[in-house]
């Protein structure tokens, strides 16, 4: 059996007397797309924020490739190959789409002084162009990101997370607020990115928080259901669909 890429053990976080996450454990295998679902207030975002260094968990450990990464800052996590998108749009509004992609990976190249003397695209131009083509945003590549439609910005946002060849990407509601016709497109792109594992690009694993059940069931290999800060179930989409407890608590009939 292969070793897990990512491992969370008994993670806990409380806000005063309110327990947001109460002992969550799970593993993500290399190349896996792992979904996290649950009703509002079930602790998904707290779990994400603890994993991503935005907040410090009270207890528990987080490991990436067998190394303890608990409590590292977002910057340190990114340098170790953890990418992310945010629930709300987070593009650099006044920079062009292409520059948004370039800045998303340039800090992984060379030293600070080296970057001062480097060409503007840090040698990442062709890579940015390839992602722009893959995401079909070529026609707006030189527009300011803030001038694009919401859906287009969402695509830029996701593309940015993949510029630095992360081994793990955490996607916080990639479909929130997106036109239903684009949801399928995002799903296809994520599947492509997950499959692409050639010599140049390592295969990425994803953790996805999402409320759109069709999207999650179609995309994810395994799904974790969180309810009131605890793990209710972990399993394949068909197992989750068949789980009586989950149906009662969350999915409904």
């Amino acid at each position: 059996m292969t070793a897990p890429l990512f491992k969370v053990s008994d993670l806990k976080k409380s806000y005063g007397a309110i327990r947001a996450v109460g002992g969550v454990s799970f593993e993500v295998m290399p190349g896996e797309i792992f979904g996290v679902i649950g009703p509002n207030g079930s602790g998904k975002t707290t779990l994400f924020n603890s994993v991503l260094g935005q907040i410090r968990p009270d207890a528990g450990t987080i490991e990436l490739n067998g190394h303890d990464i608990t409590g590292l800052s977002p910057l340190q996590l990114n340098r170790r190959g953890v990418g992310r998108t945010f629930q709300t749009l987070q593009v650099f509004a006044k920079m062009s789409v292409r520059d948004n992609l370039l800045v998303a990976a340039q800090e992984h190249r060379g030293t600070m002084i080296g970057r001062m003397l480097a060409p503007g695209d840090s040698g990442l131009g062709s890579k940015a162009d390839a992602l722009i083509a893959q995401f079909r945003i070529g026609h707006v590549a030189h527009k300011k990101a803030g001038e694009l439609s919401y859906g287009q910005q969402k695509l830029v946002d996701i593309a940015m997370a993949f510029m630095s060849d992360p081994s793990l990407v955490l996607l916080d509601e990639p479909c929130a607020g997106v036109n239903p016709s684009l949801v399928g497109g995002i799903s296809d792109l994520l599947k492509q990115l997950n499959r692409a594992g050639d010599a140049e690009r390592k295969r990425s694993s994803f953790i996805v928080i999402e409320h759109n059940m069709d999207f999650v069931m179609d995309l994810c290999h395994r799904i974790l259901v969180m309810v009131e800060g605890m793990v209710m179930a972990i399993g394949t989409p068909s197992e989750i669909r068949a789980n009586k407890q989950v149906l009662d608590a969350y999915l409904g009939n």
């Binding site: 991503l52 800052s73 977002p74 910057l75 990114n78 340098r79 990418g83 992310r84 945010f86 987070q90 593009v91 650099f92 509004a93 006044k94 920079m95 520059d99 370039l102 800045v103 998303a104 990976a105 340039q106 800090e107 992984h108 190249r109 600070m112 970057r115 001062m116 003397l117 480097a118 060409p119 503007g120 840090s122 940015m160 630095s164």
Partner: protein, 326 residues
């Protein structure tokens, strides 16, 4: 980065800067020199405020530190060529230190922290008479020479300052065209996202202050030799606010914004001399109107016109399409 039209405008402006001053009287040459010095200082502030988004209201303190460095060292018998690097490096280091509050507080709170720093520096200039001459200042500051060429004359000194402005302009342009430029802008637009993409937000914040401060230090050094006299008055908090205003008027985050902003800040008061006592009133009204009309500064005007033209042509295209469809 530059369009053909931009290049033509740049060449014409440069030619004017080179060719016009010899035909001016001493006061005109002085104003051109004064403007070029403010361009240097405000290019630095534009990096801190316009590109990196750090609201600093302490820029005049660095301007003053640069001026006093040269004044004190030259009075002590040292060369301008020692004073200048001391001003630049000294301000860079102090700028790094002043950047630290920016790692904790932002926006108006950062503005107040930097304003406090400015007040502190100003008090030292005014009260430490043994070093700074207090309110009487330091006079009789000389002008530099290089390889036997003296820049004593007003016109010669103007070209000397202009050369500095051009070199510093080029260096900043190179810096902003490098990956650093994108990192600064990312820091301004969205620091949380920037950090999640591996941008060392703290390092870039401190550097934006330090480099901006170094530019102000060099400008201050050049000012001391221009006026040949330093006193605390030009380096008050009010002066910092004026510099901030110049950057905002020109267009923060526009590379050439400081050229225009400094022209407005330096020349408009001169043109408004006819208004005498009303000068500040007229200037204030002009600034308010400009900010209402062009909140992103004068250099946002071409972009606005382009956006409006594009919206119009898109609307026309839609109308045609609608007609064809109907």
């Amino acid at each position: 980065m530059f369009t053909k039209r931009g290049l033509v405008i740049g060449v014409v402006c440069l030619a004017a800067l080179l060719a016009v001053p010899p035909f001016l009287k001493n006061y005109g040459v002085y104003l051109f020199t004064y403007w070029a010095i403010f361009v240097i200082a405000n290019m630095g502030l534009n990096l801190t405020v316009g590109y990196a988004g750090q609201k600093s209201l302490g820029h005049a303190a660095f301007f003053g530190l640069g001026a006093y460095s040269v004044a004190i060292l030259m009075k002590a018998g040292f060369s301008f060529w020692l004073g200048l690097p001391v001003a630049a490096v000294g301000c860079f280091v102090i700028g790094l230190a002043v950047g630290f509050p920016a790692l904790r507080v932002q926006t108006i709170y950062l503005a107040f922290a930097t304003l406090g720093f400015n007040t502190l520096v100003w008090l030292v200039m005014r009260n430490e008479q043994w070093l700074t001459g207090g309110t009487f200042g330091i006079n009789g500051i000389g002008r530099p020479a290089l390889f036997g060429v003296s820049f004593d004359g007003n016109l010669a000194y103007y070209y000397f300052v202009l050369a500095f402005a051009l070199v510093l302009c080029f260096l900043l342009w190179r810096l902003l065209a490098s990956p650093w430029g994108k990192a600064f802008t990312a820091l301004r637009d969205n620091p949380i996202r920037a950090e999640s993409l591996g941008v060392n937000v703290q390092a870039y914040t401190l550097l934006s202050f330090a480099i901006g401060a170094a530019y102000a230090g060099i400008a201050g050094a050049l000012l001391a030799s221009l006026v040949q006299f330093v006193e605390p008055v030009p380096f008050t908090v009010g002066a910092s606010i004026m510099m901030y205003l110049m950057v905002v008027l020109g267009g923060p985050g526009y590379f050439l914004g400081p050229l225009l902003g400094s022209a407005v800040g330096v020349l408009l008061p001169e043109w408004l001399r006819f208004a005498q006592g009303w000068y500040l009133f007229v200037f204030g009204i002009a600034v308010i109107l400009l900010m209402l009309w062009l909140p992103d500064g004068l250099l946002s005007l071409p972009e606005r016109i382009r956006a409006r033209r594009m919206a119009r042509s898109e609307a026309a295209a839609r109308a045609v399409a609608a007609q064809a469809g109907g």
